[in-house]
Amino acid sequence: MSAPATACVLGALALLTVLDGAAYDPAGTPDDWPSPMPHMHYGMLLGDRLETRFADGADAYVWDVQGWYGSGRRRAWMKSEGEGEMGSSPENAEVQLLYSQLFAPFWDWQVGVRHDFSPNPELTHAVIGVQGVAPYEFEVDSALFVNEYGDVTARIEAEYNLNITQRLVLQPRVELNAAFSDVREVGLGSGLTASELGLRLRYQVAREFAPYIGVSWERLHGETRDIARRAGERASSTAFVAGVRLWF
């Protein structure tokens, strides 16, 4: 783990401790008595998408994992996502470590770092983001990333869960990526860079364990698409996906 990432995690945990650790004095009990109602922290690890993509013979794997630890208001977050062709190392792999604070009833601001372990060269970004639930129950995760060269990129993801039955859930998902300048090192052109539209149908065997099937449309856009084409890569793909959503 990179030094800034480590610092971020330690900082977030220290903040959680300081901000949540205030002792309560009921005014009257002996000084050495603890609070009558201890405040507890919780954590969760969610594999939102752990899937295989089947597209034109070039099958790929994808992971999108998130975890948090903390109280209701203040949490340390970890987010990781990446993908690669079956049998080879990931083409993209990133980990984010964030401090997250509830600032409105359904919204957290988040700050921290992101490190891309691939592609080469590895990049480290500062992250500032907003995550929450928009009206009509859209789950939204958005962030601005500034890498060590000052390049600014952005990403927004939105998901919606439609219960078909108590256990069968249809989940549309959209992800948009943008760059505010060319980031040639990783083949990004300024503007909208990539988008993904997904539709996944999962069955909750248990709340914690839901296998799914679905379809995913990915496209590159603008200058980024042209860069990819010049390199002989595809600019769009449609894939059937199968995977599992699980948490504990």
Binding site: D20, A22, Y24, D25, P26, A27, G28, T29, W33, P34, S35, P36, M37, H39, M40, Y42, M44, G72, R73, L102, F103, A104, P105, F106, W107, V133, P135, Y136, E137, L162, N163, I164, T165, Q166, R207, W247
Partner: protein, 612 residues
């Protein structure tokens, strides 16, 4: 010391009872540890007669962990004297009680005497009243009993209550009981889960609708015969826009719970015996961690004679909703039938507890089907419905008092007011008047919604019972029996809002979880004050004050009832008068166990004004 005997006899055992009575009558102080307190017990005869004398009544309670048969399975439970629920304790008003509680667990424990007035050091809240009871230790509770009625007791340590540390408590009046009956039963309702309660809470924290398998689905939306899909979609979108669920009636449901009546699941069929022509008193106690129940006995009207242990002017009804930690005493007079089902349906209709009143053991009566799950309404949301047909009633200014301007008595009697089935409007037909509006303070990010309009809902039926085609008890039906009203006007008002964040599973008062507040709520010793509670959330919250009565201002003047636990309906504004006559530190909290644990808890400090 491990006591293997069952805490509750499952049937009347006359010989045993005689023996017990003899033992009790003969000894000055009597220990009932391990005894089987007789079930079918006439409060007046078996109670006061058995409790003759004036010496302190002594009891030993042993809290342990053991494997036992429960809810149709086997589980490790936390037990009192070897059972779940713990033994039926019978005290006598005016006597002193001595309770030696021994902790056989490897973690600290405690017993809180719910609804009992006592010195605060005896109240049993760890690190507030006392340091708790350490493993291996015995704590002696000792205090005079000043009241009478039906109560209960439970652990106030962590989540132990969910695991079985609870039991019934009956205090017999010093004078003749105004309620004369031939038989007298406790009906103790509780919710049992085979899961570790800490896992239950942890799941709620991660996914607050984890246990809700009655959510709105696409299938509902196309169930045109029920509602019409256009209206269904409009309703769904209205709730989605607010990021809330109209099906959020109970956080923990029948998906996790088996509901118990006197420790028995429905197949266990707890049976209370009667002979034709007898008057039978049923002391309903909701000792659940999280579950409200709708209680009815098909074919048998119930006369409510006490609420929260306090006698009320008898009022006849066909059904009542009992919030967590509340008690209701009813008298029934079984007719010609040999058996009647005592039905306690969970408020969200995901399960039920049931037993039988019968002329002999082994009989059953039909168990009614669970009714359709209820949905929350715009009234629950606290939404202003001025645009929905002028239901506003009179709009009081912020600070007016629920119940003051109503002569009351208009709530429970009318049945069947049309099959108003629409979700958005459900419950509006009998919505109480708007008595106040919410101020600008929305209690910060830890609170999701506010009751923009606050209603007096004391005349309304409980959640999901608006359309029940028979009489349903409402709070406005309750009138104090005793003529002991304190005529002093309140010198002060304290207003608290019940707040929370379902998705984060944070619960609070005024938007602050307990660990975020800076000190206790100050009551001045000797004052009479008015406590105003406003429920900004979408859920019912049974609010419990330790150590002092809350006199629920339900419009009956000097007849307003005393309660230890007041259920505040969503979007409701209620007020209670309190005599701050009990110095010390008292817990004040939502009695939904996981809400309390997640921050809906405050300390009330009663002290002379100059030092408060």
């Amino acid at each position: 010391m491990r006591i293997r005997s069952r805490p509750f006899p499952r049937r009347t055992d006359t010989t045993r009872r005689r023996l017990l009575q003899g033992a009790l009558a003969g000894g000055a102080a009597c220990a009932v540890t391990g005894m089987l307190p007789a079930w079918a017990r006439d409060a007046r005869v078996a109670g006061n007669a058995a409790l003759a004398g004036t010496a302190p009544l002594a009891f030993e309670l042993a809290i342990g962990e053991e494997r036992l048969d429960i809810a149709g399975g086997q589980a490790r439970a936390l037990t009192i004297n070897g059972g779940v629920p713990g033994p039926l304790l019978e005290w006598q008003q005016g006597r002193e009680v001595i309770l030696d509680v021994t902790n056989h667990l490897d973690v600290p424990t405690s017993i809180h005497w719910h609804g009992i007035l006592l010195p605060y050091q005896m109240d049993g809240v760890p690190w507030l009243s006392f340091p708790g009871i350490a493993p291996g230790e015995t704590f002696r509770y000792r205090f005079p009993v000043v009241q009478s009625g039906t109560y209960w007791y439970h652990s106030h340590s962590g989540l132990q209550e969910q695991s079985g540390v609870y039991g019934p408590l009956v205090v017999h009046p010093r004078e003749a009981d105004p309620v004369q009956v031939d038989r007298d039963y406790v009906v103790f309702l509780s919710d049992w889960t085979f899961d570790d309660p800490h896992h239950v809470l942890s799941r709620l924290k991660k996914m607050s609708d984890y246990y809700n398998f009655q959510q709105f689905t696409l299938t509902d939306l196309y169930a045109v015969e029920k509602m019409g899909s256009a209206e269904a979609w409009a309703t769904k979108l209205a709730w989605d826009r607010m990021r809330m669920m109209p099906t959020d009636i109970a956080d923990v449901t029948g998906a996790a719970y088996t509901y118990l009546m006197n420790g028995l699941h429905p197949a266990g069929n707890w049976t209370g015996l009667f002979a034709p022509g007898e008057r039978v008193r049923l002391r309903f106690i909701n000792g659940s961690a999280m579950s409200f129940f709708n209680v009815r006995i098909p074919g048998l009207p119930m006369t409510v004679v006490a609420a929260d242990g306090q006698d009320v002017v008898p009022v006849e009804t066909d059904e009542f909703q009992i919030g967590v930690a509340e008690t209701y005493d009813v008298v029934v007079e079984p007719g010609d039938a040999e058996a009647y089902t005592v039905m306690a349906e969970s408020m969200d209709r995901s399960g039920y507890a049931a037993g039988t009143l019968a002329t002999r053991p082994g009989l059953t009566a039909p168990v009614p089907a669970l009714r359709e799950r209820p949905l929350l309404s715009m009234v629950d949301m606290g939404m202003d419905m001025a645009g929905h047909g002028g239901h506003g009633g009179h709009d009081g200014s912020h600070g007016s008092h629920a119940g003051h301007d109503r002569s009351g008595g208009d709530g429970g009697g009318h049945a069947g007011h049309g099959g108003h089935d629409g979700m958005a409007m459900g419950g509006m037909a009998q919505a109480g008047p708007v008595v106040a509006r919410h101020g600008d303070d929305h209690h910060g990010p830890g609170n999701v919604s506010v009751a923009e309009v606050q209603r007096d809902r004391l005349g309304e039926r409980g959640t999901g019972l608006a359309d029940a085609p028979h009489r349903v008890l409402v709070y406005r039906d309750l009138r104090r029996f005793a003529e002991d009203f304190d005529e002093r006007p309140p010198s002060r008002e304290i207003e608290l809002h019940l707040t929370g964040h379902m998705e984060r599973y944070m619960w609070s008062f005024d938007g602050k979880q307990f660990h975020e507040v800076d000190g206790p709520i100050a009551f001045h010793y000797g004052e009479r004050l008015r406590l105003i509670l406003v429920n900004d959330t979408m859920m019912n919250h049974p609010i419990h004050l330790h150590g002092m009565w809350m006199e629920l201002e339900n419009g009956h003047g000097s007849r307003i009832p005393r309660k230890h636990t007041i259920n505040v309906m969503p979007g409701a504004r209620v007020s209670a008068l309190i005599n701050a006559d009990a110095p010390g530190l008292w817990a004040f909290h939502c009695h939904l166990l996981y809400h309390m644990e997640m921050g809906m808890f405050r300390v009330v400090r009663v002290a002379p004004e100059e030092t408060a």
